[in-house]
Symmetry: D2
């Protein structure tokens, strides 16, 4: 049995299944409030949204930064949902005081100074697997956090880099049972980044649930075609609602 | 909706879900009959077993060859299950007359002469994805078979080669919805070769089912520890029985 | 020191360095004769050319087949160069009687029946590494040939499949010293397939030479833009002449 | 022609070839002084050495940190060689004032905050390619540095992660000509990390030189067997001396 990590009032692990949803990037007050409200109604229990964005090119949208964080906190207040958002630098930590769970992105999985810094807080940490990181390396990065005293770590598989080009990355779903053989930390799946295609998210969300994941992290946007980042992999609120419905059926079958 | 491929009395595709099971290699009359009977009782509807084996080293067990084929046919007679077994050479085709489905193994996915040869028969063909083949290449290999007139092709994802070392290969489960966007051929999953570890098979079999696969191919051995090949990934009959039970629950939840 | 493999009058290995050159596919009498004559003048000592082609799609040019073999033999007669060409099926072996070296292509590296069949001849065999094959697997495939009695095997690294997309494949040049630590078979490099870009061939040919390769295999076409296959990676005769000149300089520096 | 980047009195690029050498980690005053002196004599012109180390596990040796930096500065003073050493955190920048070139390690290639921070200095930056980063991503990370005003960037290929297990990583030497088609920044090769085996370093150093690299970065240790990190890939001073001799021969042949 995995251990329980508590994010606000929400529990993940130990039999508790949680769906995290929200847009790739916070883009405006209207957008984050609308998406937050809709995913909450569908059954998400934690709100995600990027404020500081890790983008491959310096010329891409870099996120709304502190303003984005404020909008997330506003959405938290409006909906009652705890929030998770990525951190990019040790020096931004003070800004994350009211954030419920700190996300370490795939590109930061081996940013050891950052791992140690969040390890010195008591905040839940969502640690994403690097694009070319083995499960052993993921576990050792978790160890960097825990060895500083913070054991509230949730692992997230979000697709690895392979030769296949139909999907953005290759979802390594065997990571779920493989990690559970080696750790009691909760393991969640992000089918949005893993596939990079909204049309594949439903199927992979159901598969992840059946595989025994402790939760899902899914990108939802109120207007995917005009999203400032990752529109191709974002579900509409209606699509997300359908995914949650089907995931619940799988969960019931597992009981 | 995928098309239906019929193997003996068994249908795969078009809503029909089928479980193929059996040992990696046929090893003796006793072994194949015992495994065949037990997987049939648990709910498998097609028997698998290797007679001519594709082994990386010439010094490994190469299969019982024609004697293995005869034992498979005996097991077919005893249990009433249609059989599937791998072919290694165009010149072996005459030996496969009573085999119900011919398997093209991962290492033969781009053996174009072999593809064309089975394409000139009317036998169902189980085409496994190569270890480093893209989905596009898999579909083009299916095209080699179909362009010769044989449209009874079933695609099988069995894990791709990546940097991860905990598992033997990396199961690319997104291949299921990705292939269904591009073809109406049935798609099945082989969690045994994909993971290489019997402890991960159950979880991946359930995930594959939830992802929408049309069937599963699972290695079962009556004595995995002493198997002549692939023992580490083979289920015992009792483990297989449990997997089938859980897969059925997932199937029911999907209806 | 590597062992010597003799192809007609040409030696590879044991300090003998050989350049194999010619078009991807034999396309016409005029083409193969023109290319053969030009590469011979520049310093190539073995002529390559595809007659039976392994193409990913059944709808691509499949080679001139037996007619292509005849044109290669004509070019051999005209230039005095021994020839190497790929074999696709065990059943084509009788057609290869006058071919000096048989090539096992990357997609056939684990076509074990084919390996055993060429192992029962005494012809030199050029064994190309599979796209996702480890060096260990390449050596075991060579073992399939040698265990049948034919020790005239030359290994060829031609690029492996990775996530990088600028090049067609990734040339694994460390294969040269790595293989030499494990075998005394000659090792050659094919920079054309490895990079897929004619602009990168010169640099990689020089690097391969400096790394200690026993030879090179380079695609040359008299009209790359209109080549029926692999035009993007084919050198013009003038470019090839320049490559040979620079490779010779590296060879001299190594003495 | 690539642009010239100047590190102390040493030029890299624009026809200037430079060899960087030294131990993986600074371990003691004696060790760094001894190695520095020996590599200088053999022909290295920049000294490398790790003070803050990026280690996969928190339980591995993490480097001598500030003390290591001081010892590097001492070795610089003793030998007159400029030094390069890796930075792990934005907050360590003040400690690097007297360091001649700052190294961004493979695991930090997409630590965008760190890239921007070194971009706001005028120090030469050695940017290593990430283990699973495409050349396009490497160039975009360089862009992060340059867009802040610092154009003194040197790119370093140090092996990418593939399925091959004989070597620690797979050296992608085609990166040299491929990068030179896309940028005028100098490109150097690190054969030590790329292969992970000291026995393969000489061959790959020679190949990199022949491929047109602007320099090399090679790990040298006075006692590899007892090194605190990366001993298996470290050359002895005598081996390094031999490598430099052979690399010079290749350089001469290129002129």
């Amino acid at each position: 049995m995995t251990k329980v990590v508590q994010i606000g009032d929400v529990k993940i692990g130990g039999g508790n299944f949680a769906i995290i949803a929200g847009p790739c990037s916070v883009e405006s007050e209207e957008q984050i409030l609308e998406v937050a409200e809709s995913v909450r109604k569908s059954g998400a229990c934690i709100l995600r949204g990027g404020a500081f964005k890790a983008r491959t090119s310096p010329y891409n949208f870099q996120g709304m930064k502190t303003e984005g964080l404020e909008l997330l906190l506003e959405a938290k207040k409006a909906t009652g949902m705890p929030i998770v958002t990525e951190i990019m630098s040790v020096n931004h930590l003070p800004l994350y005081e009211d954030v419920d769970m700190i996300q370490i992105g795939a590109r930061s999985m081996q940013n050891f100074e950052l791992l140690k810094a969040v390890g010195r807080t008591d905040k839940p940490v969502l640690l994403k697997r690097g694009l070319a990181s083995t499960l052993e390396e993921l576990l050792l990065s978790a160890e960097y956090i825990m060895s500083e005293g913070n054991e509230n770590v949730i692992l997230c598989e979000r697709g690895i880099r392979t030769f296949e080009r139909y999907t953005r990355n290759t979802l390594d779903l065997s990571a779920v049972p493989a990690l559970k053989e080696q750790t009691d930390l909760p393991v969640i799946i992000d089918p949005s980044h893993a596939t990079g295609k909204s049309s594949l998210v439903e199927s992979m969300a159901m598969a992840a649930t059946a595989a025994g994941a402790d939760g899902l992290m899914i990108e939802v946007h109120n207007d995917p075609e005009n999203a400032l980042s990752d529109g191709a992999q974002s579900l509409t609120p209606a699509q997300f609602d359908e995914v949650v419905r089907k995931v619940k059926k799988i969960r019931e079958a597992l009981d």
